[in-house]
């Protein structure tokens, strides 16, 4: 039989199935998976941006396609990459997290203070920071699910609370980290900075969570349609809470990393980096739907790299920092507009 023939009542759909009936192979599946992946256009875009940047910079007499330059771009992507990976999870659940920036600052401070200059304390410091992440994540998740507070307001509120706690306790860089831990921020294995491996590890972990665990599958389900998921027996609240825990933990890890880079904790490292809105921008730039349920961490990293390439190019061309923001704004809007049109076409 051919179920694919669009029946009149059925109207749309079936359109993309081959006209002549034939068995589908695993290859069809793979092909399908690729065309369906929202990450595909992102990397197309990344490639485009990369090539343009290359040409422009070279014309300008700069060096773009050198190992050290590429490595520098990777280095710059680490912090934003890790937060955004977490933010992706929150957004996939149909939520979002505006509190990451302050959590990052707080984490950097906690790291530096607990570590207090000696590598002996690395383990307690890391544990403390991860615990902090879990707590904040639980807080956000519970406020959103149990108190039914819109995620935007909930996390905005948490952000304020965190900011208060930070500024109440710290009036400048505090604590210091051990020599050994500083290596995370500065040493390189060969040419690759250690921190890049951290980024890879986190992304891999999140990717694994989304792709291979039940949590991941349910996350997409809940983000896609909370009611249908509920009817299918998904414990939607748990999923949303878990999503926020993951998001906050990623932010905490970013704090760890930045502490190692700054050699201390600072109350402003998170907000100076604008990681709250930047990470959301990176996620949507990475093709993840702000409404949730569609997208993935690979796309997000693509988005982060796009921003990194832009940054690097602008640095090379010594483009004014403010003009840079203009271009970023335009690119973000344009990208999302394109994705919107694209998903309209396919729906």
């Amino acid at each position: 039989m051919s179920v694919s023939e669009p029946t009149k009542a059925a109207g749309t759909g079936g359109g993309d199935a081959p006209a002549t009936p034939r068995r589908r192979s695993a290859w069809d599946d793979r092909k399908e998976a690729i065309t369906n992946s929202p990450a595909t256009p992102v990397y197309a875009a990344l490639l485009g941006v990369f090539i343009i940047a290359w040409i422009v910079v070279t014309i300008d007499g700069g060096t773009f396609l050198t190992v050290s330059n590429i490595v520098n771009m990777l280095q710059r992507s680490v912090a934003l990459g890790i937060v955004s990976a977490g933010q992706t999870v929150a957004i996939l659940a149909g939520s979002l997290d505006l509190s990451v920036a302050f959590l990052i600052s707080l984490s950097s401070l906690v790291t530096a203070e607990v570590m207090d200059g000696s590598d002996a304390n690395i383990v307690p410091a890391v544990l403390a920071v991860l615990a902090l992440g879990v707590v904040v994540g639980l807080g956000n998740g519970l406020i959103i699910t149990k108190l039914r507070v819109n995620a935007f307001i909930a996390t905005l509120g948490t952000a304020l609370i965190l900011q208060g706690l930070i500024q109440n306790r710290y009036d400048g860089p505090a604590g210091s980290i051990g020599e050994g831990f500083e290596q995370l921020g500065y040493t390189r294995f060969g040419i690759i900075p250690a921190s890049v491996f951290l980024l890879v590890a986190v992304v891999a972990l999140v990717y694994f969570l989304l792709r291979w665990t039940r949590f991941g599958f349910r996350l997409y389900a809940v983000g896609g349609d909370e009611e249908v998921s509920r009817l299918s027996g998904v414990r939607t609240h748990r999923v949303i809470i878990a999503a926020h825990v993951v998001c906050s933990v990623c932010a905490a890890i970013t704090g760890l990393f930045l502490a190692s880079r700054l050699g201390a904790g600072t109350p402003t490292v998170g907000t100076d980096g604008g990681y709250d809105l930047e990470s959301i921008a990176a996620v949507v730039l990475g093709g993840t739907a702000l409404a949730g349920g569609r997208g993935g961490v690979l796309g997000t990293i693509g988005g982060v790299f796009i921003l990194a390439v832009l940054d690097n190019t602008f640095n090379q061309l010594e483009v004014n920092a403010f003009l840079k923001d203009v271009v970023r704004g335009v690119i973000i809007i344009a990208a999302v507009a394109v994705y919107a049109r694209r998903s309209e076409r396919r729906a």
Partner: protein, 498 residues
């Protein structure tokens, strides 16, 4: 031994309206048990009670002698009861496999075992003979029919003891139905019990062993398929004086000139539909779920674009979009008032005034300044504390009246009703029917989509029947339900034969 399923005088009411007045149903293992009845008879509700979507207000449910009560569909699944809802229940952005196994993802060493998930899904798909989409196809890329199959596969994957199918063939073409039946027979061999809800008589006779008929939430009776014929069945379903009173029909001289004329309407779901409605007449539009009535209505009103054809109101070709429709004097009472009819958080007043307020200055010219919101409310016999009450606090019937008042405020010349009395209790129904006839008397041309046979037969001056997005034929006022059913459910080859 105890039957697989035994439901004993189940009661259920919504917002005070009781829709199941003690219904009982038994189904043996290895049997396909049909449940029939007009729209609103209570079939779906009964099944939702069984599946744990609604909890019954009274009565008991037994599975293999064990008394059970489900507060969540998942519990029902656990107990081996799988249900395919009338409304689709899938995640459009997930793959087929993910939809089939949502919340039951198979795991190996704690990790989701996608291979086996997809493998299992592929096997199931092949079992039901699907070759054109695979486990990784996104559901959003599937046609309604294909989504239907996914639903069934999902239920199969639960290897349930009892499978409930609520109008599974509504959106399926004949050959697809055959595939489905082959599948159901195979399942019956396996000893599965199945409850099968459908409006299509012929299907019932082809595949079902027993038939239970519901009417207005009451059990009419259960009969074996052998020795029962179409007419007995229909009389069981319809066999009562049609809802008692309907307002007297319009007379020939009350008929005015054509106010709505559509020719050769084409959309993704409609093919070459011609239709004419005259001032003073109520034209009924019959058809099965998914036959395209709503699509036609939306196309006529301008809610959906048409790829071909022309629509004239009072002889003037109308522009595109709802605004133009309203401007030219059309109104559209939608099928789903909560989603498309009302702004639930707003007061009655604002709901009633919404359409008028959106009219352009020029368009408002034709409105006499006499009507006040109260008068409108009174004319539709709206029962509400005050006009400032939010629409969401009104009962279904009164909400429908608010929607009606909204359109009356625009003094329409053509009104399209899609399921005007769905979810409206019997009392309110009569009121709405009177109102519609009254409007017709005042020279309004009315097109009424309804799945409720009594309504169509009792109210319409003539009945158009739709099938698969085409007009299947026209019947005079008061045509017998059987004729309508035949036209609506007739399969293509039967037509060729005829």
């Amino acid at each position: 031994m105890a039957p697989l399923l035994a439901m004993k005088d189940i009661r259920k009411s919504f917002l005070g309206v009781e829709v199941l007045h003690g219904v009982s149903l038994e189904c043996e293992a290895g049997e396909i048990h049909a449940v029939m009845g007009e729209n609103g008879a209570g079939k779906s509700t009964l099944m939702k009670v069984l599946a744990g979507v609604y909890s019954p207000d009274g009565g008991t449910i037994e599975l293999e002698g064990e008394q059970v009560s489900f507060s969540h569909p998942v519990q029902a699944q656990g107990a081996g009861v799988a249900i395919i809802f009338q409304e689709f229940n899938l995640l459009p952005d997930r793959t087929v496999a993910e939809n089939v196994f949502v919340n039951r993802e198979p795991t190996k060493r704690g990790l989701v075992d996608i291979r086996s998930m997809e493998q299992h899904t592929r096997e199931l798909l092949e079992e039901v003979g699907v070759t054109h989409f695979g486990p990784r196809t996104l559901v959003r890329h599937l046609s309604t029919a294909q989504q239907q199959i996914v639903e069934i596969v999902k239920a199969l994957s639960l290897d349930a003891k009892l499978l409930v199918l609520d109008e599974p063939t509504a959106a399926l073409a004949e050959h697809e139905v055959e595939v489905l039946f082959a599948l159901l027979r195979r399942l019956r061999e396996r000893g599965l019990g199945m409850v099968y809800i459908s409006h299509r008589l012929r299907e019932i006779f082809t595949i079902c062993d027993k038939i239970t008929v519901l009417k207005d939430g009451e059990l009419v009776g259960t009969v074996p398929t052998e020795g029962t014929d179409t007419n007995t069945l229909i009389s069981m379903m319809v066999g009562r004086e049609l809802d008692g009173y309907f307002p007297p029909r319009g007379t020939a001289e009350e008929l005015g000139d054509v106010r709505l004329r559509a020719t050769g309407i084409e959309t993704s779901m409609l093919t070459g539909v011609d239709i004419e409605v005259r001032a003073g007449e109520i034209v009924g539009l019959a058809g099965l779920q998914g036959s395209g009535r709503t699509e036609l209505a939306r196309a006529l009103f301008g809610a959906d674009p048409i790829s071909a054809g022309t629509i004239e109101v009072d002889g003037k070709k109308r522009g595109r979009g709802p605004r133009a429709g309203i401007g030219s004097g059309m109104g559209f009472i939608t099928e789903d008032r909560k989603l498309e009819g009302l702004t639930l958080a707003q007061p009655i007043r604002d709901n009633v005034l919404l359409a008028v307020r959106s009219l352009g200055r020029s368009q408002r010219k034709r409105l006499p300044n006499t009507v006040s919101v109260q008068e409108l409310a009174r004319s539709v016999e709206l029962k509400a504390r005050s006009l400032e009450q939010e629409a969401r606090f009104l009962s279904g019937g009164n909400q429908q009246k608010v929607v009606l008042a909204k359109w009356l405020a625009t003094q329409p010349g053509v009104l399209i009703f899609d399921e005007p009395t769905r979810g409206v209790d019997v009392g309110a129904k009569a009121g709405i029917h009177d109102l519609m006839r009254g409007l017709a008397r005042d020279g309004v041309a009315i097109l009424m989509i309804s799945s409720e046979m009594p309504e169509l037969i009792g109210l319409a001056d003539r009945i158009l029947v739709m099938r698969n997005g085409e007009l299947a034929g026209e019947l005079p006022a008061g045509a017998a339900e059987t004729e309508i059913m035949k036209l609506a459910a007739a399969e293509d080859h039967e037509l060729e034969a005829a």
